[in-house]
Symmetry: C2
Subunit: 431 residues, 2 copies
């Protein structure tokens, strides 16, 4: 590293910490801002996006052109691309956030103690939230809206490939904030696009209250390992569908195909199914045919392969890698198990704690499965695809936590808050 | 490092990870164990401690003798020392834990969604909890009881100076577990007493769900910085008492003296007081006299010094180090501020987010103070000493969290749990 690099890194670090410090000051203002003013700002941000769509689209076109020139995967280019319609959808989502109840100030519990002290546990914002994400400009606006509504300042670290789009979006949003008398530092892009600039954010303990990485498993792992700021892990999903001996075959086939194929690029899609040996003969021929119709490749164990051969459907042999895989594609690993306990043991070994499903008409089997899996969500006779903030009625979602501390499962506005105890007395002292 | 060291470290690491793996298996059993069996085991542990007190005292005597021989501070030796009476108190505390409600299985929220899916968010144990603490054998039993009650397996890493005591206590408790048909691996000491054995625990991500350090600021900082396992920070407290212009002077003096001097070695003791200039003349002479009577040394700013000189009470000049200090002694930093906003700015700069108190008869000042400080607990006209699980009516406390994620303030049994969403349908698929 020559001197110039060193200077550049030093100043980039200083810029990141300065941004975080400004965010802290903005957070103190937001914490004391009542719902009406926050909602007005969110609605103004939505209107500004509609009004300045042309400016955003121009910036986005530059990002898209560069990505195409770099030979980026067309699916990623599609995620990066904004259109007038997509900007309209993003603005509409902001208006929905404005409509949601404000978690800040909610009294979680309260009582009057024996000595007359009044105890209230009240929801407060977390403070400064860092979001680290990939080339999806919609996340820039979604995260900003959710953080503002919950009284948090946000530091956004998107992909450098979306830098022009993100800059334009944040500029439009902060102009709207200023117009509503709120500090523009409440919504900031993290300065710099180097790998180091992320690490400065990840180690800004005391300035940043929480980091939420949104993206693939690699991104999340690197944030978890490199951060001294607390991290909420999101969205790694190796989800299983277990078809119990007492399953209704028709429902089981429908749930399996829906869990796998309704949308493949999402963390709540199923990546493995396990079927009880006692129902394999009734279930597998129908299931393999339905999966084949949906274009799904089955990576089966020996017993599954035998049924696939008999049914004349294509298959691949399953490997250890398949049991571990989050395919995010039209592939599924498949095995026959001899008992519900064997299914639970398999899930304990390979599951990532996201969503596990059982299909059964046995109340006892359902009860044992629910008690035996350790996951953010357990589905009984329902598709794994239902693990979702909007489906759960939370109105919006900042991610799906697959860890156990603070938040587990879909995270809405409530999960972007902490609490404080307010204790009111009349000169009370402890004896 | 020679080969022998390497082998020894490798085998110590393997031993720690093996203990954590056994804890995970035990945690799966505990998660499915109903309250009645857990309570029976906790009561059996209490009875066993009473019955085998002699065995524990013998082990403890060896630790105490060694500590004295090493020239350990008498206050630390006192904390390390067990007596028949103290063992009786520890057993009684276990019986109180058995009496508390079981958080596991509580339904946090639930609803039937528009499509008929039944959604329930249910409390579940965290899994494996690691406790890292100093030479206080009572923590060994307290933590084991609270973790067992909340369905968690516990890995205990106490100080090597309490190793014989802790080994005896865990042996007595695990014998009781076995007698109740529960796995002894639910309560384990972390193997090894080297510095490295702690680091193996701190990096056992995936095997250990959370670490809770209990002890001084140095211990907590090293765990926070060295862990990849999520950590709940506890108990660092630079607590302030702000005496507002509209304070009742008599109540303010009583609250200040109680906050500082009722017990000094605890994290909820006050370390600084700030007084509004408008009431300094009425408040300070009485306050300085009362603090002097209680044996407290005041480290005052210039204006405080002037009043102390006039009143003839001793003082020391305040330094930057004093504003930052957690004295844990009969010392307090003191300053006069010109406004409530100046008090808030001081607290934002030096506070550790534990407990901040205001004494005022002004509803408006109280409201502004509560909104303006960022702490686990805010006291209005009450002593800082009330931030405590027992005082709050939680029945027991594993520590006081000074962080914002997962738990903030006194942590009881509820804070030792996570949740899972159980979603029940009848063949529901997503369209």
């Amino acid at each position: 590293m020559d001197d110039q690099d060193f200077d550049q890194q030093g100043s980039e670090r200083a810029a990141v910490l300065a941004a975080a410090t400004r965010a802290r000051l903005a957070a103190a203002v937001l914490a004391a801002t009542p719902r009406g003013r926050k909602d007005a700002a969110i609605l103004a941000m939505a209107d500004a996006l509609d009004k300045h769509a042309a400016q955003v689209l121009e910036a986005n076109a530059a990002d898209v052109e560069r990505a195409r020139g770099d030979g980026t995967d067309p699916a990623l280019v599609d995620r990066l691309t904004l259109t007038t319609e997509r900007i309209g959808d993003i603005a509409a989502a902001l208006r929905q956030v404005a409509d949601l109840p404000d978690p800040v100030g909610q009294v979680v519990r309260g009582s009057t103690l024996a000595n007359g002290l009044e105890l209230r546990q009240v929801r407060v914002p977390l403070g400064v939230v860092g979001i680290i994400y990939e080339a999806r400009p919609n996340v820039t606006v979604d995260a900003a809206g959710l953080c503002l509504k919950s009284g948090n300042a946000v530091l956004l670290r998107g992909s450098s490939s979306a830098q022009a789009s993100n800059t334009a979006l944040v500029s439009v949003m902060t102009d709207a904030l200023v117009g509503c008398g709120l500090p523009p530092e409440a919504i900031q892009l993290v300065p710099g696009t180097s790998h180091e600039s992320v690490s400065y954010l990840m180690t800004a303990r005391g300035l940043v209250d929480v980091l939420i990485p949104r993206g693939g498993a690699g991104l999340i792992r690197s944030v978890v390992q490199g951060s001294t700021v607390p991290v909420i892990e999101t969205g790694v999903g190796n989800c299983h569908v277990y078809v119990d001996a007492a399953a209704d075959v028709t429902k089981a086939v429908a749930i399996l195909v829906n869990s796998k194929a309704q949308r493949t690029s999402v963390c709540n899609a199923a990546e493995t199914f396990l079927v009880h040996a006692g129902i394999a003969e009734a279930f597998l021929p129908a299931a393999l045919a339905a999966l084949a119709d949906a274009g799904v490749t089955v990576h089966g164990d020996e017993r599954v392969q035998r049924f696939a051969t008999a049914a004349g459907t294509a298959f691949a042999p399953v490997t250890e890698q398949d049991w571990l895989a989050e395919y995010y594609s039209l592939d599924i690993a498949a095995g026959v198990v001899d008992s519900l306990d064997d299914a639970l043991a398999h899930i304990r070994r390979y599951g990532t704690g996201h969503t596990e499903a059982i299909v059964t008409d046995s109340a006892q089997a359902a009860r044992r499965f629910v008690a035996g899996v350790d996951a953010a969500a357990v589905m009984v006779n329902a598709s794994t695809r239902f693990t979702d903030g909007a489906e759960f009625g939370f109105g919006a979602e900042i991610g799906i936590s697959t860890q156990k501390l603070h938040a587990r499962g879909p995270m809405g506005l409530t999960e972007l808050t902490s609490t404080t105890y307010v204790v009111t007395g009349d000169g009370h002292i402890r004896s």
